[in-house]
């Protein structure tokens, strides 16, 4: 599902990633970890096609990133759900409109949008907040909305960069529970974090990155 082969990325002479190869199978839930500046966010930018690698090949959601015309980037992104530490919700839109946006962009009919939005809100347990504005919600709630937004389009892959970086332990647990649930339904998930607590007790694949170099992996 996600495969990197000898990928390198340099920013103005400074190597953010050097010769990284890794593979995440369909249906897996994997973690990338490493100290700050290790290159986790850079790796994610390559994966959701916001940047191009200097070298190496990237395969995600069945597409080879190198062969991609820039006009088909949006179409690939529709198969990738993204979640960030800082939520990136639109504060002038209600929760409903924030989630519906994913589907409106794809040209869905209002009726189907309504159905789908309500079903994902149920999944993250926030059906009662459908008409709230993001800023009236707690950080944990906002992150759950972000997750709802990213799964409403039924992506095959989910990328989460420090999804619990802004959250306390309780919310952290709740978010991880939701991720596991989504993963059980068949979505491949890759989570970047420097928080050991997130992957400590799971028997999942963990990649260790440091200074742009893949130092090891662990099942």
């Amino acid at each position: 599902m996600i495969e990197l082969e000898n990928v390198s990325k340099t920013y103005g002479g400074h190597a953010a990633l050097s010769n990284v190869s890794l593979k995440v199978e369909r249906g897996d839930m994997a973690f990338i970890t490493g100290p700050s500046g290790a290159g986790k966010t850079t790796l994610f930018k390559l994966l959701y096609l916001a940047e191009k690698p200097d070298e190496g090949t990237i395969t995600i959601a069945g597409c080879n990133a190198a062969d991609l015309k820039s006009s088909s980037i949006p179409l690939v992104r529709r198969n990738i759900g993204v979640v960030f530490q800082d939520f990136k919700l639109l504060n002038n839109k209600t929760v409903y409109d924030n989630i519906a946006l994913t589907l409106r962009i794809r040209g869905f009919m209002e009726r189907e949008i309504k159905e789908r939005v309500h079903s994902v809100l149920k999944m993250v347990n926030l059906r009662h907040k459908v008409d709230n504005y993001p800023l009236t919600l707690s950080g944990g709630e906002q992150q759950r909305i972000t997750i709802a937004r990213s799964i409403v389009g039924e992506p095959t892959v989910m990328l989460a960069d420090e999804p619990t970086g802004n959250l306390d332990e309780e919310n952290e647990k709740e978010i991880m529970r939701i991720f596991k649930q989504i993963n059980t339904k068949g979505t491949t998930i890759l989570i970047a974090t420097h928080n050991r607590a997130l992957y400590k007790n799971t028997a999942r694949k963990v990649f260790f990155l440091e200074g742009g170099i893949l130092k090891g992996e662990e099942e």
């Binding site: 959701y48 980037i73 949006p74 990136k88 639109l90 962009i105 937004r149």
Partner: protein, 288 residues
């Protein structure tokens, strides 16, 4: 459509800015068209100037009818000449009398006809340049039987100078104004773009196509351009009805002024194009 709705919402939300940019565009287009109208009218007025120009060839007193015929033939042979008419001094007096109307008593006292025999030479309407006319006149002047040649030299020269000056002026104003209007659309759309920057970031992450992101801005720029053009047309009409018509009524000299109606329909279209152009510039390549 979703894009159209977004664009309209944005125009309404930023109504002051939109209105001001429309107004600016409108007034610039109006001025642009005014200059075009002036150029157009001067062109129209002067296009047939050589044709209108009648060159009066005054013959010397006591020219024989043979000499007369020779001059006539020579003038007729010129390629720039359309018609040559002989005007005897009796006919000239008649005409003068008619043009004086009731004041013709002035002429009553004359014992003798004080006028001269002459030729009225009419120049061809097409393909004749001012220089050709000058050359012709020089030639006629040098004929032996000819006393003098009268024509509106000063007028013709100055009108042509005015014409070329106006053309240059019109062209430079045109270029500058097209740039300015595009620039105003550019800045307006750019500001809207910055206001929605976060939103656009999110759109891109969620897989919106480039077209989906840009369409509202293009539509918005076009709307502003169109409405600016409509305002310009409105100003033009206002100017026409409240100013020019009055002016023409008061000073008949300006009767020739006319505003081609097509401009009214053209302005919104031009505005739209420039608005669209400005939006395209404002959004640039739009990286993913």
């Amino acid at each position: 459509m979703f894009s159209l709705r977004l664009a309209l919402q944005s125009v309404i939300k930023e109504k002051w800015m939109s209105l001001l940019s429309m107004l600016s565009i409108g007034v610039m287009l109006f001025i642009l068209v005014s200059v075009a109208v002036i150029v157009y009218n001067v062109e129209k007025l002067t296009a047939r100037l050589p044709e209108r120009l009648t060159v009066m060839v005054i013959l010397k007193d006591g020219v024989t009818s043979e000499e007369n015929k020779a001059v006539l033939a020579a003038i007729k042979a010129e390629p720039t000449v359309k018609v040559v008419t002989f005007v005897s001094k009796e006919k000239a007096l008649d005409e003068l009398r008619r043009s004086l109307k009731k004041d013709d008593f002035i002429l009553k006292g004359f014992a003798d006809n004080p006028l001269f025999d002459s030729f009225d030479v009419k120049i061809k309407s097409e393909g004749v340049r001012v220089d050709d006319v000058k050359r012709l006149i020089q030639k006629i002047k040098s004929m032996k039987a000819v006393d003098d040649v009268e024509y509106g030299e000063a007028l013709m020269d100055s009108v042509y100078a005015l014409k070329s000056g106006l053309r240059a002026l019109g062209l430079s104003i045109g270029i500058v104004f097209v740039c300015s209007v595009t620039f105003i659309c550019y800045t307006t759309v750019k500001i809207l773009f910055y206001r929605h920057k976060e939103e656009i970031e999110v759109y891109k992450l969620l897989g919106a196509t480039r077209w989906f992101v840009r369409a509202p801005f293009f539509i918005e720029g076009s709307i502003i351009g169109i409405l600016g053009g409509v305002m310009g047309s409105g100003m033009l009409m206002g100017f026409y009805y409240y100013f020019l018509r009055k002016l023409v009524a008061d000073i008949p000299m300006f009767t020739f002024m006319s505003i081609p109606v097509q401009f009214m329909y053209l302005l919104p279209a031009v505005g739209m194009l420039l608005g669209l152009g400005g939006s395209v510039l404002a959004l640039g390549r739009l990286k993913y």
